[in-house]
Subunit: 343 residues, 2 copies
């Protein structure tokens, strides 16, 4: 009998979708960063992120506040990825009988700390016992406040693949956490990611941005989601990757391939998007003026091939797949993913 590890996370989701009918009020169903629903002629965004002890966090390495912050950040980043504004969260928590009350309180303090930055609030949830690892699921409800929202599909031939911030920082921070060395700045990026909510809102207001998502599973993996959804390919120029000097230094010191960590590493929660090649310089300038955040063109979309290539080669690595022992295989060979609501 086939097991989930045999097919991986993304094919499992494809299988599940077959059982899920839709309705006309569902604008985007399973398959994008958020679901988009029409509520009385307005568009709402909904998403959830589940974090499990031992898979997403370790209590011996991370403070409860940081665990709470990060799982909330992952959820809010999904709303940011579509250019929405997060409003409400629900949290479902499973803890052990002997879990300290203080752990739970500090976890919620972390969630609340992150949410309060964006005016979002926890409005409900569920709490239950488990005999296994602690888990926390955060559901976020947001709204499309601007004129439009951004999806994974929509990239056009010649569009520039563009990214906010610096990527690979989180992967280096995780490496440092697991292996012991000090990596100031990088571990903070891994532990306390900041969802790009304001940046996402700004980008969605610009019609030159055609498609977007957030980097949660890894640059190449997430770029492949854009290419699959848009029916295109993309070429990434590794020389253009925005690498932090402290990352380059850390990788050099510890014998790591900084570019490889950037292409594979997940959990940066930066925004990755397809930008019209016309007026690209103006957008880059205006964005930088507004946020003082790095914004970098790292590749270009093409119809010459499907999937992601790095310096002409089909990308040799995927990203994070929950059911793969290591990094996932490239997704190009997978059956084409239809976007939006399933019929």
């Amino acid at each position: 009998m086939k097991k989930v590890q045999d097919i991986g996370e993304f094919r499992l989701i494809d299988r599940i979708r077959r059982f899920l009918p839709s309705t006309p009020t569902v604008v985007e169903g399973v398959g994008d960063d958020c679901a988009v629903i029409r509520v009385f002629d307005h568009l709402m965004l909904v998403s959830c992120d589940l974090s499990v002890e031992g898979v997403h966090f370790r209590r011996d390495l991370t403070k409860p506040e940081d665990i709470g912050w990060k799982v909330a950040a992952a959820s809010l980043s999904d709303v940011a990825a579509m250019g929405g504004t997060p409003l409400f969260c629900l949290t479902s928590l499973s803890v052990r009988d002997d879990t300290p009350v203080l752990f739970v309180e500090r976890l919620y303090q972390g969630i609340s700390n992150l949410l309060s930055r964006f005016g979002a609030v926890v409005i409900g949830g569920d709490t239950t016992r488990t005999d296994g690892p602690i888990s926390i699921d955060v559901t976020v409800i947001g709204e499309v406040t601007g004129q439009r929202f951004l999806r994974r599909k929509g990239a056009r031939i010649g569009d520039k693949l563009t990214v906010t911030g610096q990527i690979g920082r989180s992967a280096c921070g995780l490496h440092a956490l697991l292996n012991g060395p000090s990596a100031p700045g990088l571990t903070e990026s891994h532990i306390g990611p900041k969802p790009r909510v304001l940046e996402g809102l700004w980008l969605s207001a610009h019609p030159q941005i055609h498609a977007m998502l957030d980097i949660s599973d890894g640059l190449c993996q997430d770029a492949s989601h854009l290419t699959r959804a848009s029916g295109l390919g993309v070429e990434i120029d590794p020389d253009k990757l925005p690498l932090a000097p402290e990352q380059e230094e850390y990788c050099a010191t510890h014998g790591l391939d900084s570019v490889k960590m950037t292409l594979q590493g997940g959990e940066d929660y930066e925004l990755l998007f397809a930008m019209d090649s016309e007026n690209a310089e103006e957008i880059l300038h205006a964005f930088h003026q507004e946020f003082r955040t790095p914004i970098t063109v790292i590749g270009e979309f093409t119809d010459a091939w499907p999937g992601v290539r790095v310096r002409g080669q089909k990308h040799p690595m995927g990203g994070f797949d929950h059911f793969s022992p290591t990094f996932a295989a490239p997704q190009d060979a997978a059956p084409a993913e239809s976007d939006g609501a399933e019929g």
Copy 2:
């Protein structure tokens, strides 16, 4: 250091609420069956229910379809309890590497089977690996379609405590499942509860109904939520409990106290509400005409004491608390719970 089992589920929730600010768009926050939020001048209901293997279900006793059905039913019942209409669900699933794909597919089939009865659909979710028990969290989003919704607070002195259907069936069904004897009808009630969505909608449209919730933790426990929220007490007449003949027969055969099982037993997902004593007969008659479902007055609200009494005695048993080894202590002594959004 205090552990969660030392304070129990409900005091843990009270502790968590301290960390949770609110906003003016939150009409009801943590503490009722659903959160109620204002979206562009319309009211939406949101709730989530988390089920954990070994706590809420056992794979050796329950088919995957039934596990999916039941966790979805628990969520939809929360919307029913406030008189709303369920529209959308999100599901967060954690499974083991070696979980059969077929198990996951059948689980979603069960969720979909239940949702399709009410025109609700799954619009998104998350899937992740765990090294522990399987868990499934279902978030439901509904709407208030009528003129009003019902909360736990609002019961008035002299109101009739009224219940839909037959209660105690699920507890007997669980007893049979765990102990082996056949209990036709009762095990089905435990495995495949039917959320009272249409009934809840009907009741909320009648101004004679003042407060409502669903029976998930146990009759006495849930009645105590009504009394606490309304600042009243209630007297339950055990002679009036609507017991199914097959339950009485099962209990007699197996030496069980049928009334006690009904007062304590949870997961019936029937509606429990406070009904104005005037015109009560008319409401009972009209409801029965509409649904052909039993509807029974089982007690009366009073300001003579706080909490729940059964035949004049403070109720000696609580209901289901996730962090208590057995049934929970009565909640009357707990600090008063403020309703609605936390400031």
